[in-house]
């Protein structure tokens, strides 16, 4: 199947249906189902041992699922279609796995040859330019820092102009500057319409880069855009801090100020569950002032993707494994 056909159609880049992988009695992941649209940056989150890397290896045709099915880059996943799928995807493992005795250029020449690229020289120059490694093309990979090796790994993953890129912990072990470079690159891939399947431990990274995230803990716990997962999991709330503990908080918060529930948090801080924070905040402030309280601050509580992640993973029975 031509790459143009796959990139031009409206079919999802990945369709995963009840996919399960077991090693003996142990499940690496179980009954996982989701779809990833073309051009989407899809985050795959989960604790250590959740099955993220095994999922990537399965979708990357390195290992066979125990049950279930998947369509990768428009091709049904099977033993017979492995080479065809691998022609259309690229996988960057957590360890970029470069040949340390070869130069950057030679590493990329090998992979250009394996993908059968028509004009490898121009393509290699292009991807090295993309990851800002052109001046280091003749350096031995063994002499590069971890950050630079990661960039070469990314260049290698870009080399075949893949329909789907699997990036397994691409910023693992990188310093903040190198991580930012990788983030910028992933953002530019999204602009170019490349589908990116990103597994990461860094939740702020997923929140910043991903259109949607899936949270896996052997079983899939949630899938959706980070913002919508937050809305679904956490009700809107206000955090009120007063100068001193309120003598009768119940009398203030049970007035008609739009507070559904309230809980004290610390000495003089109260978390109020509200339906509409922007409407409730002025009314709560007025009620507090009327009750003679000195209001230090009132703010809409912000729940990060980390809160969503912890809420789901800690509530999961598998968490105690």
């Amino acid at each position: 199947m031509a790459k143009e056909q796959l990139t031009g159609g409206a079919a999802p880049a990945l369709v995963v249906s009840h996919l399960t992988k077991r090693f003996g009695d142990r499940s690496a992941f179980e009954d996982v189902s989701f779809e990833v649209a073309r051009g989407e940056v899809f985050g795959f989150l989960g604790p250590n041992g959740a099955g993220k890397t095994t999922t990537v290896r399965t979708l990357g045709t390195l290992i066979a699922p125990t049950s279930g099915s998947a369509v990768v880059a428009g091709i049904p996943l099977s033993a017979a279609t492995g080479a065809e799928i691998r022609q259309l995807i690229s996988v960057m493992p957590e360890n970029p796995g470069l040949y340390v005795r070869l130069t950057v250029q030679e590493n990329l020449e090998l992979f250009a040859g394996l993908y059968g690229l028509a004009s490898p020289g121009a393509r290699i120059a292009g991807v090295l330019e993309t990851v800002n490694m052109a001046p280091r093309a003749r350096d031995l990979c063994g002499r590069l820092s971890k950050g630079l090796r990661q960039r070469v790994g990314l260049a290698r993953a870009l080399l075949s102009d893949p329909v789907v890129m699997f990036l397994d912990e691409p910023t693992s072990g990188l310093d903040p500057v190198a991580s930012r470079d990788v983030h910028d690159l992933i953002a530019s891939l999204r602009e170019r319409g490349v589908t990116v399947f990103l597994t990461t431990h860094r939740l702020e990274e997923a929140e910043r880069l991903c259109d949607r995230v899936a949270i896996l803990n052997t079983r899939l716990l949630a899938v959706g855009p980070p913002e919508q997962l937050r809305t679904q999991l956490f009700r809107s709330s206000l955090v009120v801090e007063t100068a001193a503990r309120l003598p009768a908080p119940e009398a203030v918060f049970t007035q008609d100020v739009g507070v559904e529930e309230w809980t004290p948090e610390g000495d003089a801080t109260y978390v109020l569950t509200v339906a509409e924070p922007r409407m409730a905040a002025p009314r709560v402030t007025r009620a507090l002032v009327a009750a003679g309280a000195d209001v230090v601050s009132i703010a809409v509580a912000h729940h990060s993707l980390e809160d969503v992640y912890l809420e789901l993973v800690e509530a999961d029975p598998e968490a105690g494994r």
Binding site: S17, H18, S33, A64, S67, G97, G116, L221, V223
Partner: protein
């Protein structure tokens, strides 16, 4: 048998050659081992006096012949034994296996680069032995015996066939081993048994003639083909990556998927 893409095969072979060139251990082994193996033939050739009987000369040349055949069997064995487990050890196997390269292209590409220098060195050593015998041997029948048609044919056939065996068995061990050193030791040991076949002719247990050489060559060829079929079957991506063998896949139809844009919390 297997579809091979020449471009991918060449890409693998070129990478291997570049790595060998920059690995002092491999270059050292390829340079030093043949020199060590040449010591015995040279001493043997020079030690044969002018009056020594023809039967003794034939026996000595046979021993020389066997030593020369150890080279293509032993040199590529440790290289082949490193080929897969070494990739796994340095973390390069997984990226390699995620490309469209097929196992045949990968293994044959690697094998070619191990075989060509080993066979080349074996031929050079044989030529060197002939030249030394011709100009320096005390007994003129030594050179004549070495350059008999059957000896040249046997050398020409056995050297590549022994190398192919050695590389195949080394690769098979490499695909299953978890430690580079163990793989190399086992690979070297496992490369030796086919030398038993050549020993039969070297020690005149089976008299060497053209048809004997061809017959033994065909026998080695059959063994090589059978062994390489086993090697290719043993190369299992899943086992190489995870250490366990793939189990039968059972597919199911389209299921309850979470479509793009949809948000869902899935109950555990």
């Amino acid at each position: 048998m297997i579809g091979l893409d020449v471009g991918r095969l060449v890409a693998v072979a070129r990478k291997e050659a570049r790595e060998y060139r920059r690995t002092p251990f491999i270059i050292g082994a390829m340079a030093v081992l043949p020199l060590i193996f040449m010591i015995n033939p040279v001493i043997t050739i020079f030690a044969i006096g002018a009056t020594v009987k023809a039967a003794t000369v034939t026996k000595a040349v046979g021993a020389t012949f066997l030593v020369l055949l150890v080279v293509p069997a032993v040199i590529p064995a440790s290289i082949a034994a490193y080929s897969v487990v070494g990739e796994r050890d340095q973390g390069t196997l997984e990226p390699l296996l995620t490309t469209p390269v097929r196992r045949g292209e990968l293994l044959i590409g690697k094998a070619l680069v191990a075989a060509v220098p080993a066979v080349g060195i074996a031929y050079i050593l044989f030529a060197l032995a002939v030249i030394l015998a011709h100009f320096f041997a005390g007994n003129p029948t030594v050179a004549a015996t070495l350059t008999e048609g059957s000896h040249i044919l046997a050398q020409a056939l056995f050297a590549p066939l022994l190398a192919v065996w050695s590389i195949g068995v080394g690769t098979a061990i490499s695909a299953r081993a978890s430690d580079v050193r163990v793989a190399q030791q086992l690979g070297t040991l496992a490369s030796l048994p086919p030398l038993g076949v050549t020993a039969l002719v070297s020690f005149q247990i089976v008299p060497l003639g053209v048809w004997t050489a061809v017959g033994f060559g065909l026998g080695l060829l059959v063994i090589d083909i059978a062994m390489w079929r086993v090697v290719l079957a043993m190369f299992d991506r899943e086992r190489l990556i995870t250490g366990s063998r793939a189990v039968k896949t059972t597919g199911v139809g389209p299921g309850d998927r979470v479509a793009p844009g949809e948000v869902r919390r899935i109950q555990a």
